[in-house]
């Protein structure tokens, strides 16, 4: 930063949040009506809401990027606020995933054993669900969704693990290149990173198609299908968001944004990407493998 201001930057009014609020409100209004059977009209309302939110995010972030690149507004304190804010945001995401991992743990270690007669539930498999035996994977005592096959860990999921872990490495190489002001290495390895990210999404889609068409493994396949698709689905959503953000900072790098000592957005997204990486390791171990 050429001449960083002494005072903390307090923007003078902003119109993005109210636009974002209207967008979210429209989205949820449409989505609620759609869920209640409102048909395609409601879906269009919800889609409009999503579009408003996306446009708002682009404009809001665009303004912040402009302010940051101009070097006239932000000082080191503002940078620290952004960093801390990103860190705490990721913490909230950790807790969001924790509740789904917790649900998986609860199903496997408490709910299913109790349905199978453990603890003081001796009569449950005698009277309510005759003959039910606890095992994993399970689609429950009512065999919800019919016969299915579980997703094996050592096929696509293992390849995806390698892909995502490699993307973490390439991102770190890009980060070091940015600090060393080696723009060429930076752009090349950042490109590798988001390409690996989108490749992961593609393979994940392939896996879902495989599950639905060949394994009869669906979101509605009892608790196994429920936890499998909810956990991997929310993770996939986060990878999509992360890869999109990587693509955007790659474009910013091409435009000559970021300097060795001023690149909060790069680091924030790098943290986010590593977080998504670690969640995947948890998924690979607890959803696919064990």
């Amino acid at each position: 930063m050429a001449h960083s201001p002494a005072r903390y930057y307090v923007p003078h009014g902003t119109k993005w949040p109210i636009i974002g609020t209207i967008g979210l409100f429209t989205l949820f209004l449409g989505a609620s009506n759609w869920l209640n059977g409102g048909g395609s009209g409601s879906a269009w309302v919800a889609g409009t809401g999503v579009a408003i939110v996306i446009v708002m995010i682009f404009l809001w972030f665009g303004q912040v990027i402009k302010e940051s690149e101009s070097g006239e507004y932000y000082n080191a304190d503002v940078d620290a606020s952004f960093r801390m804010g990103m860190g705490w945001f990721i913490f909230s995401e950790v807790m969001f995933f924790a509740v789904f991992f917790g649900a998986l743990w609860y199903m496997r270690n408490l709910a299913l054993p109790w349905l199978g007669g453990e603890g003081n539930s001796f009569f449950t498999p005698q009277l309510i669900w005759p003959g039910f035996e606890d095992q994993w994977p399970s689609n429950g005592p009512a065999n919800v969704g019919g016969a299915y096959e579980a997703m094996p860990a050592w096929g696509l999921p293992a390849i995806n693990t390698v892909i995502l872990l490699s993307s973490g490495v390439t991102l770190t190489i890009a980060h070091h290149a940015l600090i060393a002001n080696n723009r060429k290495i930076l752009t090349v390895f950042l490109a590798f990173t988001f390409i690996l990210g989108f490749l992961f999404i593609g393979l994940q889609a392939e896996e879902y198609i495989h599950a639905y068409t060949e394994l009869n493994l669906k979101l509605t396949t009892g608790v196994y299908g429920t936890t499998f698709f909810m956990l991997t689905g929310f993770h996939g959503l986060h990878v999509t968001i992360g890869a999109t953000m990587l693509l955007i900072i790659w474009i910013r790098c091409l435009k000559g944004h970021f300097t060795p000592d001023n690149h909060f957005a790069f680091e924030g997204i790098a943290w986010y990407w590593h977080f998504v990486d670690i969640v995947w390791l948890g998924l690979f171990i607890f959803v696919y493998w064990l």
């Binding site: 002494a6 005072r7 903390y8 930057y9 307090v10 923007p11 003078h12 009014g13 902003t14 119109k15 993005w16 949040p17 109210i18 609020t21 979210l24 409100f25 949820f28 209004l29 989505a31 609620s32 869920l35 303004q63 507004y73 304190d77 620290a80 606020s81 801390m84 804010g85 705490w88 945001f89 913490f91 909230s92 995401e93 807790m95 969001f96 924790a98 509740v99 789904f100 917790g102 649900a103 609860y106 199903m107 408490l110 709910a111 299913l112 349905l115 003081n120 689609n139 429950g140 005592p141 009512a142 919800v144 969704g145 979101l219 509605t220 009892g222 608790v223 299908g225 429920t226 909810m230």
Partner: protein
């Protein structure tokens, strides 16, 4: 916009004119004011619902409403009061006071701050709109236990998404508060020198970020179970409805500390100010808050002792719950010790603080009673529980908010409020709140269940007293509104210190506090 901002970056600009000042606001004082006004409005919306409840319970038999609508009222009353009233009220205090207390120019992320507030009214509209839909509002109680909550009509997705918006608002506000406190303290102010209100909000915000996503996850599971055929809470598919209770209370128990900790903070300012003594055991108070926050994560299942969990689980959650009495007792002891041999005067904020001390402690003791597993099998889902949590929420959290409002109104408006009317408001509130909730202890111990619109005739007398108290308490709050309006419009000019030289940076700026304060941070000695 960025071009103009460059020019007046270093000017002391005033607020914008008209609606833009509020809708586009990035000013912590304006946003704080909006939070407080929103909370006050919701106090009357939620209060009107409690009027319906208490009118129906005035006499045995069904008088005014259908049982299903009664259940919608208890659900909406709770959701509105928790998410719409008390949390926004304390967020308003946080916005107004934290930057003033730590010498910061504003909140650290002012645009995000605007978003945190403006999500609330929209979420409120989504939630209240369910009352007018097929099947009405959720009627499962605010805990939203499945399968009952899944039987809501068309209002179900609206209510769920409303909770998502409220959670989003809370998470963003909390990130902002934590970053402000950690990053924008005046140079020289160490963590242990921070005012107690700032400390309580630091920990409250941490709790919020930790548990709001958990509620969001639970609500998401409800939505997918309802509409997309997942079986999280369906035993046929291997799930368990009790799982939702665990998820909800993992959020819900820290949530009750989220509600009460900022009130602790306010009381910790008011009692020293009117006792004219520093807070007794400042550091111990900080550790006590941290201890309460830690324990709040490992006690949740005490809300579900009767659900049929293993004995080891019951014992663990009973013991950990009773441990909370220790840090809480530290706090009550320190507040009392602060008053000991102080030169006490009883202005309205101090009256509310002292009432808080007595009445919150009653709620704390009844909390110890319900923490004991074998006894809880008797108390569970009875009016005793209703009495317990209303004692900590109304003369606890709400009195804390009243206390803070009277304490800082002169700083906000530049005028002294009408002390005589403030005292009348206090006495009416204090008498009626006890008339409302004290008899409910006896009703619960005698076996009256909660959330039922009718009751056996043996409960008639206490219910009538309780209803009279509730109507009196609700109407007394109109006086509070009048006092505020009167104070905003005029009154004796307030000095910068307002009170008898209380400590804190907020008393070094003029009253009313200028639109921008501490653009250059004060230097702490």
């Amino acid at each position: 916009m960025s071009a103009t901002a460059t020019h007046d970056l270093h000017d002391d600009h005033g607020p914008e004119k008209g609606w833009r000042r509020w809708v586009y606001s990035t000013n912590h004082k304006d946003i704080g004011t909006m939070y407080l006004i929103f909370a006050l409005a919701m106090l009357f919306v939620g209060g009107a619902m409690s009027f319906v409840i208490r009118a129906e319970l005035f006499q045995p038999g069904l008088q005014f409403v259908r049982p299903d609508f009664f259940n919608q009222m208890i659900t909406m009353h709770a959701l509105i009061m928790v998410f719409g009233m008390i949390m926004p009220a304390f967020a308003g205090f946080a916005n107004w006071m934290i930057p003033l207390m730590i010498g910061a120019p504003d909140m650290a992320l002012p645009r995000l701050n605007n978003w945190s507030f403006w999500l609330l009214p929209f979420a409120g509209v989504l939630l209240l709109s369910t009352l007018f839909m097929d099947g009405g509002a959720p009627a499962s109680g605010w805990t939203l236990y499945p399968p009952l909550s899944l039987q809501t009509g068309n209002g179900f997705p609206f209510a769920m998404f409303s909770i998502h918006l409220l959670g989003l608002s809370s998470i963003m506000a909390s990130i902002n508060i934590i970053v402000t406190i950690l990053n924008l303290r005046a140079p020289g102010m160490t963590l242990m020198q921070m005012p107690m209100f700032v400390w309580t909000w630091l920990i409250t915000a941490y709790l919020l970020i930790a548990v709001m996503p958990v509620l969001a996850g639970g609500v998401t599971m409800l939505i997918t179970d309802q509409f997309f055929g997942t079986t999280f809470f369906n035993a046929a598919g291997g799930g368990d409805p009790v799982l939702f209770q665990h998820i909800f209370w993992f959020f819900g128990h820290p949530e009750v500390y989220i509600i009460i900790l900022p009130a602790f903070g306010i009381i910790s300012h008011v009692i020293p100010a009117f006792s004219r003594k520093p807070l007794f055991g400042h550091d111990a108070m900080v550790y006590a808050i941290a201890g309460i926050a830690f324990l709040s994560f490992i006690v949740w299942a005490h809300h579900m002792f009767t659900v049929g969990m293993p004995l080891a689980g019951q014992l663990f959650f009973m013991m950990s719950t009773m441990l909370i009495a220790i840090p809480t007792a530290v706090k009550v002891f320190n507040w009392t010790a602060t008053m000991w041999r102080g030169s006490i005067s009883f202005e309205t904020p101090m009256l509310f603080a002292v009432a808080f001390l007595f009445l919150f402690t009653i709620g704390g003791f009844s909390g110890l009673m319900v923490a004991i597993v074998p006894a809880d099998f008797q108390y569970h889902d009875s009016y005793f529980v209703v009495a317990h949590f209303h004692y900590v929420l109304v003369p606890g959290a709400l009195f804390g908010a009243f206390c803070g409002a009277y304490y800082w109104l002169p700083k906000w408006t530049g005028h002294m409020y009408d002390e005589r009317l403030g005292k009348i408001h206090f006495w009416l509130s204090a008498i009626f709140v006890n008339l409302t909730f004290f008899p409910q202890h006896f009703l619960g111990l005698a076996g009256m269940p909660r959330r039922i619109p009718d009751y056996s005739t043996q409960f008639a007398d206490f219910n009538m007293l309780s209803s009279i108290g509730a109507f009196g308490f609700g109407l007394s709050q109109l006086l509070f509104v009048y006092v505020i309006i009167k104070c905003v419009r005029g009154g004796e000019k307030a000095t910068a210190e307002v009170w008898d030289n209380p400590p804190g940076l907020e008393w070094t700026v003029p009253s009313p506090a200028p639109h921008h304060t501490f653009e250059d941070p004060p230097i702490m000695r």
